[in-house]
Every structure is written in C-alpha cells, then in structure tokens.
Symmetry: C2
Subunit: 211 residues, 2 copies
C-alpha cells in the first residue's frame, strides 16, 4: 500500500491525523498541489481526477476521497475507531463529518480557490487537467457558509466534549482541519466561541495534530 | 423511527431506493421542498438546516444526510448490503458514491438551483431560512462537471456490471438518481453511452425505482 499525499493541503491532513490516531503507517509519496503537480500527466496516470489523497493498493487498485480511504482502513484495522462504534454513532459521525466537510472544508476551498491566482483555472478539485475558471461570487457565499459552520460547531461543543459524544472521531478531525485551513483565508474561531476554542486547543495538543 | 421525506426530490429518492432494496419500512412525513416548506419554522424545529431526508429516532435524536442515514440503517439491518461487504468494497462504494454525488447530484443541483426562480434566494441546500442568492456562473460550471460525470460513468460501466463489481450498491443508486434529476435540467445520458443506457434500464426496471 502507498499513499499519494500533499503535506500542505487540508484534505490529506485529515487522513494523516486519522492514521496517526490509529497508529497506522503507510509509505507516502509527496505531490505538490499548489504548483499543480496533481494536474500533470505523471499523477493523472495514477488518478485521472488529480485528487489527493489517493491510496494505491499492492494489487494496483487506486481510489481517492479521504472518507473512502478511512472507511477501508477502519474496516481493516478496527482498533481506535474513528467512524463510530454503535450504529447510531456511525450514523452521527457520518452526518456531522459531512456537515463539517461541506460547510467548513468545502466552503473554505470555495473561498480560497476562487480568489487565489494559482487556482484561477482550476476552481474546483477533481477536474483533472480540465480548465475550470474561478467564480468570484463564490467567495462571499463561502464566507457566509463558514459563518454558519462556526455557529453550529459552538452549539454542538457546548453540549458535548467532541462532536459525537465523548470520543474523538472523524467529525472532529474534519472540523479541526477546516479551521486550520481557514487561516489561509484569514478566518479564525470567533473570540466568543469558548467551547470551540477549548476543543481546538485540546485537539491541537495531541501528537496527531503534527501529522 | 420516522422519516421526513419529499417525494419529488432527488436526494430523498436515494434513501427510498435504499430502503426498498433492503425491505425496510419506515413511516414517512412529506415535506414540500419546491414550495419551501423545509425552510418554514415547523420543519426547522425538526432540522435547523432544513435538509431532507431527516431521520427522527424514537428517543428524539434527529439527523440528516442520506449517506449518514444509510450508514445507520446498514449497521442495524445488515442484510442485502448496499455499502459494500469487504473492506475494499466499502472503500470503493464510498469513493464512487461520492464521485457520483459530487459530479452528478450536486452539480445537477448547482445547475437547477442557480437558474430556477423558486430557488433564487436559496441556491444551496442546508442554509435553513438564510437567504443565499443564486450565482448564475454556476450553471455553466455545473454542466461542465456533469459532462465529466457521464464520461466517467460510461468508462466504469464498460468494465463492470455495476459501479462496484457485480452487486448494486449506493454508488449505483446515487448515479441513477442523479440521472433522473438531470431530466429537470434537460440533460440525459449521451446516446452513444451504451453501457450506461443498459445499466440505467436495468435499474429502472427494479421495483425499487418506483419507491
């Protein structure tokens, strides 16, 4: 097994934290998204969508999407579960992970890509080498969505230590990485969001945060 | 358990097909998205995001997102698995389901909502009652993404009967419902995509297609 990774990018970071929390080691190959290495023929031969992270199995099977790779690895290595233990936890992790992903991570990506000159012709991930021009109106809409994300996160964390009860799961990891990514677009946790600030500091103090 | 549903909408349809394939019956409450009933106080009290489908458990727990509800129900009722049987199948179903969702279903929603007068102030789902103006540039970008979706789907189905091997899974259901939804924006399966046309006809002939 090997993992096509990008040290600076927020989605590969979600997977690295998952791996660190579960003590799984997979050899990594670095691909630079900012310089567009993922849209060049060498990487498109591995993954025609140009998405990172991508997992390649020993039999040659390749697939992408953080949550898909997590799902595979969680089934293979069930210890230290990050996707929920009971049926209800599994449902809630998926639901809240997606909420954090859509309104935190993807909204952050909308703001970042639609205003950054390096992404002027690849404004969404997954287009391979196809030109996808930026749409400036998405910057404001993304910022509005991120406002909802922080309100929601604070309300959730006022109720429980982690997003789904008392255990850290991928819902937390996605929200945590989204917040780290928001530094790129000059957005940070609102000063009054005390539960979010305490939760963020706790996650940031774990060894996995440096993965 | 009860399910807040919307008979005409494509995402609730994904869940109804899942339930039909697994022979699970859950009482349903109809909510009309086109008329905006999901952004009115009565439904926002159930789900502040205004998203459908939403599952309400007997203890009052509510959660949304089709794949989260499927995850919960698949864990409770493991027969006739729709999310993969082996670890690899589970990873591939998640990966290809997401591909079909992002490039088929969500791109369709971008085209539909950003050009339809009824959605002029709610151009993305999940905003609750917040005003989210349409961005006309997303219509063209969505159509471009849908072009990639049909190319990808045909290439996959030239290789295997269903998206993940020989069994129908949620990856197929999402792609199938995305195509049904594309009729609303005057897009259909390209005439030369013979594998996709045969696969679509087979899924459409199953009793679950009418769910």
């Amino acid at each position: 097994m090997k993992l096509y990774d990008c040290a600076m990018a927020p989605n590969p970071r979600r997977l690295r934290i998952f791996l660190a929390e579960k003590n799984i080691e997979i050899p990594k190959i670095e691909v630079n998204i900012l310089e567009g290495e993922n849209t060049q023929p060498a990487f498109l031969a591995v993954n025609p969508r140009g998405l990172l992270p991508t997992l390649k199995l020993d039999d040659g099977t390749c697939f992408d999407e953080v949550m898909a790779i997590c799902r595979y690895l969680e089934a293979l290595y069930p210890w230290q579960p990050m996707l929920g233990r009971t049926p209800l936890e599994q449902g809630l992790v998926e639901s809240l992970q997606r909420k954090a992903e859509f309104e935190g991570m993807i909204a952050g990506s909308e703001v970042f890509r639609n205003q950054h000159p390096k992404f002027a012709e690849r404004s969404i991930p997954g287009g391979g080498g196809q030109l996808i021009p930026a749409i400036p109106g998405l910057v404001e809409r993304g910022r509005q969505t991120i406002g909802r994300f922080y309100d929601w996160l604070e309300a959730q964390l006022q109720r429980s230590r982690y997003l789904v009860g008392e255990q850290m799961t991928m819902a937390d990891v996605t929200a945590f990485c989204a917040i780290g990514f928001h530094a790129w677009i000059d957005i940070s946790i609102p000063a009054g969001n005390s539960a979010t600030l305490a939760w963020y500091a706790a996650l940031n103090a774990r060894p996995s945060a440096a993965a």
